[in-house]
């Protein structure tokens, strides 16, 4: 038997080359699930060590904290308060970011006027703005929306604007040769071409809104996951801190999946 034959019969293994694919879906799902399972197991095991358990609550403690929070009627109020802040801040920010980034993409003069401000505020963490926002708006709900708004707005504008700049200029030229006017270029080419970037901005925006939630609720709140985490930390109640963190993570995961689903539905042509 020559080498080639041995390779075909499996006697000699063919070299496996990297192809950077996701691999077998079943294997992937098994690995995903077992990774979570092992993670929780490790978490359970290390919290058996008392010195670790002082700052890291065990899974059972988090579950009983969940029971207490639900019993006390706080848990769902917290979730609702936070979700509302995240969604209001996020939606208003995205709704403002879309026209602003299109104006920047369309008019070089608007771009020249707005760009320096975007570049400046991008690098400032929203948490640094809290004192100013509190001074301006007190401890109101508006203060919380504002913090989330700023963070989501900046990230969305940058993403959508980048997308608009990357629109294939040949498509614009082609449309012009059919007799399109500027308004047609805007409505029929720029908006659909930039649409996928709006969806990317939405996903980044949701993640940003959630990561800014704790900062936004530092402006004083009775209910809210961020506020709960901050106050539990002051009482050294680590299980409630962990519960809050896990809850935010799960909400983020669900919202991201929803947006991913919408993206898949709306950009089948990609």
């Amino acid at each position: 038997m020559d080498e080639q034959e041995k390779a075909l019969t499996g006697e000699i293994k063919m070299r496996k080359l990297k192809d950077f694919s996701d691999g077998n879906p079943t294997t992937r799902n098994i690995l995903n699930v077992s990774s979570i399972f092992v993670g929780v197991l490790v978490w359970f095991l290390i919290t058996l060590i008392p010195s670790i358990n002082t700052f890291l609550a065990s899974p059972q403690q988090v579950i009983s904290a969940l029971g207490q929070e639900v019993q006390a009627g706080r848990y769902f109020k917290d979730i609702w308060a936070s979700l509302q802040r995240v969604l209001v801040g996020f939606i208003v920010a995205l709704a403002c970011a879309i026209p602003v980034s299109f104006l920047m993409g369309w008019y070089p003069k608007v771009r020249a006027l707005i760009d320096p401000w975007i570049q400046f505020f991008r690098t400032i963490p929203p948490i640094a703005l809290i004192p100013l926002v509190i001074l301006a708006m007190g401890l109101s709900e508006m203060a919380k929306y504002t913090i989330i708004f700023i963070a989501v707005f900046l990230v969305s504008v940058v993403t959508i604007y980048q997308g608009i700049r990357e629109v294939d200029k040949t498509l614009v030229k082609a449309a012009y040769t059919f007799g399109a006017r500027d308004i047609n270029i805007f409505l029929s080419v720029m908006i659909p071409a930039a649409f996928p970037f709006i969806l990317v901005a939405a996903r980044l925006g949701i993640a940003t809104a959630l990561t800014t939630l704790i900062a936004s609720e530092m402006t004083g709140a009775t209910y809210g996951l961020g506020a709960r985490i901050t106050s539990a930390q002051q009482f050294m109640n680590v299980s409630v801190v962990l519960l809050g963190i896990i809850t935010i993570g799960i909400i983020g995961f669900i919202l991201d999946r929803v947006l991913l689903f919408v993206e898949k539905k709306l950009t089948k042509w990609k």
């Binding site: 082609a174 040769t177 059919f178 007799g179 029929s188 080419v189 042509w269």
Partner: protein, 293 residues
């Protein structure tokens, strides 16, 4: 479109006239590039002009100027004796990179080409007072039904029946370019400007599309201005081949291709074809050596 076509090329007036055109690109922080230097060219109705020349000799620049996609510095560019001041549906452009809208199906892409076009309609008008009716000719946008029917016609012409609802990403390069060609024809421009349309395709697909384009041209005699870097392709398709030279971009020579139509891939074997091809190839290659010096 239906009117009798004048198939005698020589006596008619030029459809497109390019006269003493100059174009220089200003390069920030570098030497300016003279892309076109005193270029003159008349394109007559029903001609098939092919432009060959070394890369960077200004072929695309010339096409863009005729298309109205780019301004020229000095000189005159007219279509039907009107100066070109911008792009318009009287000049269809077919790009090497297809330029299909990825979010539109094949049919939608072709119909989009006709979206801004106006045509004459005979409309029945009812007089409100007397109740009498009369016919009136109106210049207005095409109806959805008209666009649909024309799209059907050209989808058939490029053999893409069954792919009307496919998105561009589902098509091969050759199929995409066929969609672009169908879209170009459906707008019914006076001239088609094609910038290396088959440049990205493999040899077999290319030969196939050359034949398709020849067949279409032989029936419709739509004026074409076709850029290619393939001398053989130029000789196969053209009534005249324009040879451009580089640095600065100039019209070096215009060669009449007096091979009879219909032509096909077999034409490439004919002695006269080879003679013309070798002659043009020799000129182009010599210019290439010049540029390399």
């Amino acid at each position: 479109m239906e009117k009798e076509k004048d198939k005698t090329v020589t006596q008619s007036k030029p459809l497109i006239r390019v006269k003493n055109v100059n174009k220089t690109y200003k390069v920030v922080g570098g030497n300016d590039v003279i892309a076109l230097n005193d270029v003159s060219l008349d394109i007559y109705p029903n001609e098939f002009i092919c432009v060959v020349g070394p890369s960077g000799c200004g072929k695309t620049t010339l096409l863009n100027i005729i298309a109205g996609l780019e301004p020229h510095d000095t000189g005159e560019v007219t279509i039907d004796e009107h100066p070109v001041i911008g792009p318009g549906p009287d000049r269809g452009v077919i790009f090497q990179q297809y330029a299909l809208f990825p979010w539109m199906t094949v049919r939608k892409n072709i119909e989009f080409g006709m979206k801004f076009k106006k045509v004459w309609h005979d409309v029945m008008v009812v007089d409100k007072k007397t109740g009498e009716t009369h016919m009136e000719r109106r210049y207005e946008h095409m109806t959805p039904a008209e666009k649909h029917a024309l799209a059907d016609k050209y989808i058939k012409m490029v053999n893409l029946e069954g792919f009307e609802n496919s998105f561009p990403k589902e098509l091969s390069g050759g199929m995409k370019q066929r969609v672009a060609i169908a879209r170009g024809y459906a707008v019914a421009p006076e001239v088609l400007l094609l910038d290396e349309p088959f440049g990205a395709l493999d040899a077999q697909t290319r030969a196939q599309l050359q034949e398709d384009l020849l067949k279409t041209w032989e029936t419709e005699r739509k004026t074409c201005f076709f850029i290619t870097h393939d001398v053989e392709e130029a000789v196969l398709l053209a009534t005249r081949v324009v040879i451009m030279s580089a640095r600065p971009g100039k019209v070096h020579e215009i060669v009449d291709i007096d091979l009879p139509y219909p032509r096909n891939q077999a034409t490439k074997m004919e002695p006269h074809f080879l003679e013309l091809k070798n002659k043009i190839w020799d000129t182009v290659y010599r210019m290439y050596l010049e540029v390399r010096k």
